[in-house]
């Protein structure tokens, strides 16, 4: 069973704000799901290469060149920005 501190830590890493009730709710649910994975511990996997890439392809590279956007494309991107100033996306200060 995950501890309350562990859940708060995970939520922080995941950048998801949680209330105390939510911490408690997810503590139970996440613990139940994590228990479900215990069965994998018994599977012998010594020397087995982890499989993430299932295509067998590698190094699909492209030319490192800049692709310019049209004014219409720029406008479409800017239209989605929550806060804009002079065509730049505005963010809260980092420090």
């Amino acid at each position: 069973m995950l501890s309350v501190e562990e859940v708060k830590h995970i939520a922080r890493l995941a950048r998801i704000g949680l209330s105390d009730e939510e911490v408690s709710k997810y503590q139970k649910e996440l613990s139940a799901i994590l228990d479900f994975f215990k069965e994998l511990e018994a599977v012998p996997t010594e020397g087995v290469l982890p499989m993430g890439n299932i295509t067998g392809k590698s190094d699909a590279l492209r030319e490192d060149s800049v692709q310019s956007l049209s004014a219409a494309q720029r406008d479409a991107l800017i239209a989605n920005m929550p806060a804009v100033k002079d065509g730049f996306v505005k963010v809260k200060s980092v420090f």
Partner: protein
């Protein structure tokens, strides 16, 4: 009634000028207007553009210009696939105001075919779920029984086609999200081989598992849509197989000698006896068509669900990191939770995601974050990826002696609303037969194979056929042969 027809028939009617593309589109919009308020299959209707595109097709026909099979044929697009200038929500509040700035590659290809888009369909939020009960915009009702779910996550697309509100639809499938709704709604739904169809412009859920695929009432219609959307794409480095194929060319109904494997693990004692009965009847039908039925074993398949529910949330936690209230989407900073340690920027992240994401999304993001974090990565994610390789080896071995693998698509028919939504694990078990195809990357189709009775209602049950990598031909051929044989009865 116009919408009873299949794509080829509608195409011929258009060419013969028995109907116009505009009239066809208007017929479908009338149906959507009549039914969507109740069924909630569509989140956004794109009537103005659809009618413009339909008029363009009618003009081409009037000028005697050649048109493709999909020209003027109305379809629906799952709302996690980008159509330029149209809202794309992924059924999440966090994208409530997001307007897609570009077309997904599949959309671009369908536009080149002059297909008509009726609108964007409802889904479980960020494609996470098996019922559409996780949508931030309310669930979708199954047109065959409105007390029941249409399946998920592509429930809106399935309900649109099954409810005669679209001739075809696109969905996405990460662990069964096309196949299970197809099964629940009596449709054909295909998850292509991983890499067959470009994922560019699909809102990413789990990048090593996601695939876009078609829904329709018949295998031929699914084959037509697949032909239009598949093929190598420079924008998706995981796509392979360059040559464009016409999949309808393989629907010759001849499956004599085709070897169909039946895994003992998928027909365990736990399987609902009604579902088993329908599946066994389907096996006999394949046998009657000349296929060779071969018992096989996929020993590590029992770990597939655990592997999937570990690998997928890890990839989800990475893919959903972009929803941070900065460049697009919902942005919240209610300044209620500031502490000296919380910068305003951090609070934007915490609040945006707190209010923007639903519970299932938060669950999976946190699960993945935990499993990838320092100290846990080896025990969870790495271990799961190792078992994933072992599961794939079982398939490689099985495919040395069979061409296709058969099972039910889901262990049940469409369940009632609320039946599984109180327990996440209960919902995950719906995926027991479908997740494996995503883990190993093979193509898989769900086709109607019969019905079962549940609580006085007759409900459809889908059969699943998995094929070898890039062998959509045999998958479609076998499903089509079955469909022809059963339609005769």
């Amino acid at each position: 009634m116009l919408c009873e027809n299949m794509i080829k028939e509608l195409h011929e009617k258009l060419l013969a000028r028995e109907i116009t593309a505009v009239a066809l589109a208007e017929e479908y919009f009338a149906r959507i207007e009549a039914k969507n308020g109740d069924l909630n299959a569509y989140l956004t209707i794109t009537k103005e553009q659809a009618l413009k595109d339909a008029a363009f097709v009618d003009e081409k026909i009037a000028n005697g210009e050649p048109i493709g099979m999909l020209a003027g044929i109305p379809g629906a697009i799952k709302d996690n696939i980008c159509v330029a200038g149209v809202r794309a929500t992924a059924a999440s509040k966090i994208l409530d105001n997001f307007i897609a700035p570009y077309d997904a590659t599949v959309i671009d290809r369908l536009k080149k075919e002059n297909a008509i888009f009726l609108g964007k369909t409802n889904l479980d939020e960020f494609a996470m779920g098996a019922s559409t009960e996780n949508s931030a915009y309310g669930p979708v009702k199954n047109p065959l029984d409105p007390a029941r779910v249409p399946g998920g996550s592509s429930g809106g697309s399935a309900a649109a086609v099954a409810g005669d509100m679209a001739v075809w639809a696109l969905g996405t499938d990460t662990g069964g999200s096309i196949r299970q709704p197809a099964s629940f709604c009596g449709l054909v739904g295909l998850k292509p081989t991983y890499g067959r169809v470009s994922r560019f412009g699909a809102i990413a859920m789990a990048s090593s598992l996601d695939q876009i695929g078609p829904f329709a009432k018949t295998v031929e219609d699914v084959a037509i849509v697949l032909s239009a959307i598949s093929g190598f794409d420079i924008h998706d480095a995981t796509t392979g197989e360059s040559d464009a194929k016409d999949y309808t060319g393989f629907l010759d109904g001849n499956i004599k000698g085709l070897r169909i494997g039946v895994p003992e693990e998928y027909f365990s004692a736990d399987l609902d006896t009604r579902v088993r009965a329908v599946a066994e009847k389907a096996i006999e039908q394949f046998r009657a068509l000349g296929a060779e039925i071969i018992p096989i074993s996929l020993p590590r398949s029992k770990y597939a669900l655990a592997v999937y529910y570990l690998v997928m949330p890890c990839e989800v936690s990475s893919n959903l990191a972009r929803y941070d209230g900065i460049r697009f989407g919902l942005s919240v900073n209610d300044e209620k939770n500031s502490t000296p340690e919380t910068s305003a920027l951090l609070e934007t992240y915490l609040d945006t995601r707190r209010y923007g994401f639903g519970s299932e999304v938060k669950r999976r993001v946190m699960l993945g974050t935990y499993a990838l974090s320092a100290g846990y990565y080896d025990a969870y994610y790495k271990k799961a990826q190792q078992v994933r390789r072992l599961i794939r080896e079982d398939f490689e071995q099985a495919f040395e002696s069979v061409d296709l693998i058969f099972s039910p698509t889901a262990p049940e028919a469409a369940f009632k609303f609320g039946e599984k939504s109180d327990d996440p694990l209960k919902m995950y078990l719906s995926d027991i037969y479908t997740v494996t195809a995503n883990l190993v990357g093979v193509p898989a189709i769900s086709f109607p194979m019969g019905g079962i009775e549940d609580d006085g209602k007759m409900l459809p049950i889908g059969g699943q056929l998995m094929g070898k990598w890039y062998d959509e031909e045999n998958v479609l051929r076998a499903a089509d042969a079955f469909e022809r044989a059963t339609l005769k009865n």
